[in-house]
C-alpha cells in the first residue's frame, strides 16, 4: 500500500472513532462513579475497623511496655536457660542477714504447723524460674529490654526492676545463696514499681525463708498464695501442697 493509502486508512480510522456514543458514555460514567463510590465506602469501612484496632494495639503495647508486662506476655526466651550471671553479684545485705519485712507479705495468717521436710522445698520451688514461663522471661529478656529501650524514665525503671529480679533469681536458683537471695528479693519488692513480677518475687521470697529455716515467716508468706489471694490464684495449688507438707512434717526444717 502507498503512503496515500495508509493515510486514507488512518483518516478513516480517525473519522470512524471521532464521535462517541453519548448513551454509552453516560452508561460508562454511571458505572465508573458507582465503582468509585463503592471503593471509597470499602476504604472507609476498612479504616473504621482497623484504626481503632491499631490504636488499641499501640496503646496496649505502650502500657504493657511501661508496666513491664510486655515481657511477661511475650517471653522472648521461653526455652532459653537462665543466663549465666557473675558469681560476684553480691547481695546487698549480708548472707543470712535479717530480711526487711514486706508489708504486702506481712504474716497475718496464723500458722500452726511446723516446717516441712527439706526435699519438698528442694524439688518444688527452683523450677519456678527454670520451667515457668512467667518467672524465667525477665531474667533472659532483661538485657534486650535494656539495650533496646528508648531513653524514657519509665522504661529505665522497668529495666532496673528486671535487673534486680535477675540478680535475685540468680542468687536463689543458680548460686543457691538463700540469705543473699532473700535480701535481693526484698530489695526487688521494695523498689518495684508495682508491675512486673511482684507475685513471683513474693513466692520466691517465701521459699527463701523456708530454706533459711525461718519456717513461721515462710509459711506466713506462703499463706496468701495458698488462699488464692495473690494475682487470681498464682501458685495456689503448689503453696497449698507445700503448706500441707510443712504442717504434716514439722521436724525437717
Amino acid at each position: 500500500m502507498s503512503d496515500d493509502g495508509l493515510d486514507r486508512a488512518t483518516a478513516a480510522l480517525r473519522e470512524e472513532t471521532a464521535d462517541a456514543d453519548r448513551e454509552a458514555l453516560q452508561a460508562t460514567r454511571t458505572r465508573m462513579l458507582a465503582a468509585h463510590r463503592e471503593s471509597k465506602r470499602r476504604r472507609t469501612r476498612l479504616l473504621t475497623w482497623t484504626l481503632p484496632l491499631a490504636a488499641a494495639f499501640v496503646i496496649g503495647t505502650a502500657w504493657a511496655a511501661t508496666t513491664g508486662r510486655l515481657v511477661a506476655i511475650f517471653p522472648t526466651s521461653k526455652t532459653a536457660p537462665p543466663p549465666p550471671t557473675a558469681p560476684s553479684a553480691a547481695p546487698r545485705n549480708p548472707v543470712g542477714g535479717p530480711a526487711a519485712p514486706l508489708p504486702s507479705v506481712a504474716p497475718t495468717v496464723v500458722v500452726t504447723a511446723p516446717s516441712a521436710s527439706a526435699p519438698v522445698v528442694e524439688s518444688a520451688p527452683p523450677p519456678v524460674a527454670a520451667t515457668s514461663t512467667v518467672a524465667s522471661p525477665p531474667v533472659a529478656a532483661a538485657p534486650s529490654v535494656v539495650a533496646s529501650a528508648p531513653p524514657s524514665a519509665s522504661i529505665d525503671r522497668v529495666a532496673l526492676d528486671l535487673a534486680r529480679y535477675q540478680k535475685a533469681h540468680t542468687l536463689h536458683f543458680v548460686d543457691k545463696k538463700y540469705g543473699a537471695a532473700l535480701a535481693a528479693w526484698d530489695a526487688y519488692l521494695a523498689a518495684s514499681s508495682g508491675g512486673g513480677f511482684v507475685a513471683e518475687a513474693r513466692y520466691n521470697r517465701a521459699i527463701c525463708l523456708l530454706k533459711l529455716g525461718r519456717r513461721d515467716e515462710g509459711m506466713a508468706a506462703l499463706q496468701p498464695f495458698a488462699d488464692g489471694a495473690v494475682e487470681g490464684g498464682y501458685r495456689k495449688a503448689e503453696a497449698r501442697k507445700l503448706l500441707d507438707a510443712l504442717e504434716a512434717d514439722a521436724s525437717s526444717w
Binding site: 502507498s2 495508509l6 480510522l13 470512524e16 460508562t28 460514567r29 468509585h36
Partner: protein, 193 residues
C-alpha cells in the same frame, strides 16, 4: 488543551480552573471525578477506540482510566494538561485490553464472522469503515509501543513532543517507532489488498 467541545454528559463547571479541578481530585471528591469525566472522557474514549479497536474494550479502558485517576493524580505535576495525563494513564493500562481485543478479532476472522456495518450504510461510509477495520487489524500485528506511537502521532495527530510526554520516551524514539509502524502497516495493508 481546551475542553472537548463535544462534551457528552453532565454540565461541566467550566468556570472552574484546571488547578481547582486537580485540587479537588486530589482531595478525592467524587463530584470532581465526574466533572473530569465530562470534560475529558470523549477524548480519552476516542483514543481508546483507536488504540484498542473495539468499543466494549475501549469503554472498559475508559472506566479503568477514571477509576485510577484519584490515586494517580498525586503524581500529576501540571507539566502537561489533565487530558494528556489521562491519555498517558490509558496507555499504561492499555496492554491487556489491546491483547484481548486483538485475540477476539483474530478469532472472529478465523471463524469467518465479519463485524460489518449494516447494509443500509451508504457506500462511502462502508468503505471508510472497511479501511478503518483493515487498519485496526494491521495494528494488531504491531508491537504495542509502535501501535501507541502510530495512533497518537498519525491518527490523533499529536506532536512528537506531546507523544513523548505521554509515553515517557524521547521524541527521537517516538519518531523511530512511528517510522517503523508506518513501514510495517504499508506492507500489511498492501499485502492484504
Amino acid at each position: 488543551m481546551a475542553a472537548h467541545s463535544g462534551c457528552a454528559t453532565g454540565v461541566p463547571r467550566l468556570m472552574d480552573s484546571r488547578e481547582d479541578l486537580v485540587d479537588r481530585l486530589r482531595r478525592g471528591e467524587t463530584e470532581a471525578l465526574g466533572e473530569a469525566y465530562d470534560l475529558h472522557a470523549p477524548a480519552v474514549l476516542s483514543f481508546a477506540r483507536r488504540l484498542v479497536g473495539e468499543d466494549a474494550a475501549a469503554h472498559d479502558l475508559l472506566q479503568e482510566v477514571f477509576l485510577t485517576l484519584p490515586s494517580a493524580i498525586g503524581s500529576f505535576r501540571g507539566a502537561s494538561t489533565l487530558r494528556t495525563f489521562l491519555v498517558s494513564i490509558a496507555v499504561n493500562h492499555a496492554r491487556h485490553h489491546v491483547r484481548g481485543a486483538a485475540r477476539r478479532r483474530a478469532a472472529m476472522s478465523r471463524y469467518g464472522h465479519e463485524d460489518v456495518d449494516p447494509p443500509s450504510t451508504p457506500e462511502h461510509h462502508a468503505e471508510r469503515a472497511d479501511l478503518a477495520r483493515r487498519l485496526t487489524a494491521a495494528l494488531d500485528e504491531l508491537p504495542l509501543d509502535q501501535r501507541v506511537a502510530f495512533v497518537l502521532c498519525e491518527v490523533e495527530e499529536r506532536t512528537a513532543g506531546e507523544v513523548a510526554a505521554i509515553v515517557g520516551a524521547p521524541e527521537a524514539t517516538v519518531r523511530t517507532r512511528v517510522f517503523h509502524a508506518r513501514k510495517k502497516l504499508r506492507e500489511k495493508l498492501g499485502g492484504a489488498r
